[in-house]
Subunit: 443 residues, 2 copies
């Protein structure tokens, strides 16, 4: 006791455990429901209709193997070295050619290559959003976008969709309501084509109107378009960016080539580009040269349009299998959209069923899906769920839907036996009737 120190070195600072000193923004960083599912979904006995993993089985691996070997042997000194923060110039030129398929006229100077389009989305949020700022997003919206918005402490105001996508009148109403509170949202985040998770597409005749409304209110538009070339009709919709050069456009090779390379991009107006490049530099210094040069060689030397056609045909077969199974097996009172591209069907289940509460029982029955609440920032979506048809084979999809139907029947049985379940939060009509196209059960 006599050895106790006579003076305290630190005058007034309590001993704080470092781990308790995180930034306020970490409060918004929660594991998404989808993420928790990845572990479950990887068990072979479970049919996962939950994930959004593209089906890359059709990739020409032998040809790619030769290509990548040549890249390392001939251009290894460049491919394995640091590159520019904005991305490899040759690839940025090719990206402009890819975007031309959707009517976009752009110059390579305005393209910023990123580590997947997720990084572009994260950095656009970084340069636009202060804590408390408002962004608009469709309801439901992409879970990865909601994650980035939360990471920068932006508030999300959802705008509902119908079977033709975002409803312009509801967008206008939302902006008026916010304007009366003195709020101008920083941007509208929208997935116009083959929406994730809703599966719907913004009607062409609505596109100019949406742009006009945003311009009038001084709100930027962020167009996220990973699925645009995966339409089942074979022709692409005109991008919002093709109608308005101020649109911030996000693209990706994850669905049209290979997700494991993590090559995406943003096409942005010059004033945004300069800031985006600086933000990218502090995020990763530069995207991997190696991956960019491999994508560039793939685009230059392979028939990538045919490859997209091959992908799309496989997805159409799977969509057809899913729609057939939904019609065959699902109980009365369900409704869903009929996607004409992309990966997803958005399903509304009978009133009283809570898709999040039901999920553990579904997994026990060896089928997984993504419950609806993960796609809303505000707690809605408990009667919805997302089904992905991109990864499993048609046979597995059929079996998965059959299992899901049995789980739903069991839920309804319990409800019939024990009466109405615990009261759920009310869902407003626009959300409740949401993005479903007329289903076979609700013609």
């Amino acid at each position: 006791m006599a050895d106790a120190p006579l003076r305290r070195e630190v005058p007034s600072t309590p001993a704080v455990a470092p781990a308790e000193r995180f930034a306020a923004r970490t409060a918004g960083m929660t594991a998404s429901e989808i993420r928790a599912l990845f572990a479950v979904a990887s068990r072979p006995e479970v049919v996962s209709l939950a994930g959004g993993m593209p089906n890359i089985a059709a990739l020409p691996l032998d040809a790619l193997s030769v290509e990548v070997a040549d890249l390392v042997a001939r251009e290894g000194q460049v491919a394995l070295q640091y590159g520019s923060a904005q991305g490899v110039p040759a690839l940025r030129e090719q990206i402009c050619e890819v975007m031309a398929l959707e009517g976009i006229r752009a110059v390579p100077d305005d393209v910023v290559v990123t580590v997947g389009s997720q990084m572009a989305l994260d950095l656009v949020t970084r340069i636009y959003c202060d804590p408390g700022d408002v962004v608009l997003a469709e309801g439901p919206s992409y879970v990865g976008a909601l994650g980035s918005f939360a990471a920068y402490q932006a508030r999300v105001v959802h705008v509902a969709m119908d079977s033709h996508g975002l409803v312009p009148e509801l967008l206008r109403t939302a902006l008026h309501t916010l304007a009366h509170q003195g709020i101008v949202p920083k941007f509208l985040y929208t997935i116009p084509n083959f929406h994730n998770p809703a599966g719907v597409t913004l009607a062409v005749e609505r596109r100019a109107e949406v742009l006009e409304i945003c311009a009038r209110f001084g709100v930027a538009v962020v167009e996220d378009n990973p699925y645009g070339l995966l339409g089942f009709s074979g022709s692409a919709y005109p991008a919002l960016r093709s109608m308005d050069r101020d649109v911030i456009y996000l693209g990706s090779f994850s669905k049209t080539f290979a997700s494991g390379l993590r090559v995406g991009w943003a096409l942005v107006p010059p004033a945004v580009r300069d800031r985006l490049v600086l933000a990218a530099e502090s995020a990763t210094l530069c995207p991997p040269s190696f991956n960019q040069m491999l994508v560039s060689r793939y685009l230059a030397g392979h028939d990538w349009r045919s490859q997209i056609k091959t992908y799309t045909e496989a997805y159409r077969d799977r969509r057809d299998a899913m729609l057939r199974a939904l019609e065959t097996y699902l109980p009365e009172g369900c409704s869903w959209n009929v996607p004409d591209g992309g990966f997803y069907v958005w399903l509304t289940v009978p009133e009283g069923v809570d898709t999040k509460a039901m999920l553990p029982r579904a997994v026990t029955a060896r089928v997984a899906y993504a419950s609806g609440t993960g796609f809303y920032a505000d707690g809605f979506g408990s009667r919805q769920l997302r089904l992905s048809y991109c990864y499993p084979t048609p046979e597995r999809i059929t079996e998965g839907v059959r299992r899901l139907a049995a789980v739903l029947e069991a839920e309804l049985d319990v409800m019939r036996t024990f009466g109405t379940p615990a009261r759920l939060p009310a869902t407003p009509p626009a959300v409740r009737d949401g993005p479903q196209a007329p289903s076979p059960h609700t013609p």
Copy 2:
């Protein structure tokens, strides 16, 4: 005129150009002086002693070409697909083996793979720093770290080094001063080995003391160690993390293997890891599987320790060439450190010379360097500059230093002719005498 609209749709919102509505943090995002130099440095007639590009000429491209071809042919379906946000498990195990060379005992569960260690640094800042928070960093410090700190609006307080690295007594003083203002910095950011840009190494006998001081004040320690295995003595220093399991350790394959793959990592305590993985997910979803699997195969199938030895021997030759040239050509009044590893010499020029103002004249004389102010958050460093010996050949290094010496002589000539230059901001002694080891001119 009669057609003018009778009512205004938008009640009170001014038409705001989207580009003017950026987040407050963008004010801190400025192009670094180093970045502006990359364009200049790429001109073949200029000897660039400015960049930090590793010399990868010695990479066994033919063997790597075979390896990567096999990776795509045999494991393409995994390598080209999305992976986990935390990184490929096999690689995380191997990373633990790499870190064992510096005395670190760690489990793969605590490793998070990132797109270069820059991403780890950016995300650690993201989860720790609210706007206005203070971080400590050596003065001078890595320019990419200062960029990330600025992007999250953290304030940097520099702690000076001497020839044995960070000075514990000055660290203690800085923490006391801040504590009296009620400020506990979020973390100390330190590069203990072969510092960028100062070239010095934290003396082993200071390491425990630095950790003890930070623990006492409740300040986390972020150890950035990209150069740790590039010591010229052939043996590695014990990492701070090897002495304290709470240290956040950042590592990279950019200098020991290939920077163009952008594979780095963070080793963190579990409470930090969970948040870091969530942050990583919102930043890029996952790092590229392809690159991680290639690094994993390289570590498993190639003699990577010999490769590091090859790299290190080349860097030692280049360091020797630079030191010889500095001694031969530089005018009186210059001092510099003698690095025993890594890429950099930190040079102090005679009083009155402003390295930033001199840079355009140096480039005209066909030599480039990184001026000192870019490595400080507070405007110091105008009498310092960083010379990199990593990339040019010994002959080019010698020629570059000869050109630099001529530029310095010309500056001194002008000063002698026209008297003292415009008054420069005063530099405090600890910074002025900074991290230089005794040079041949100041024995």
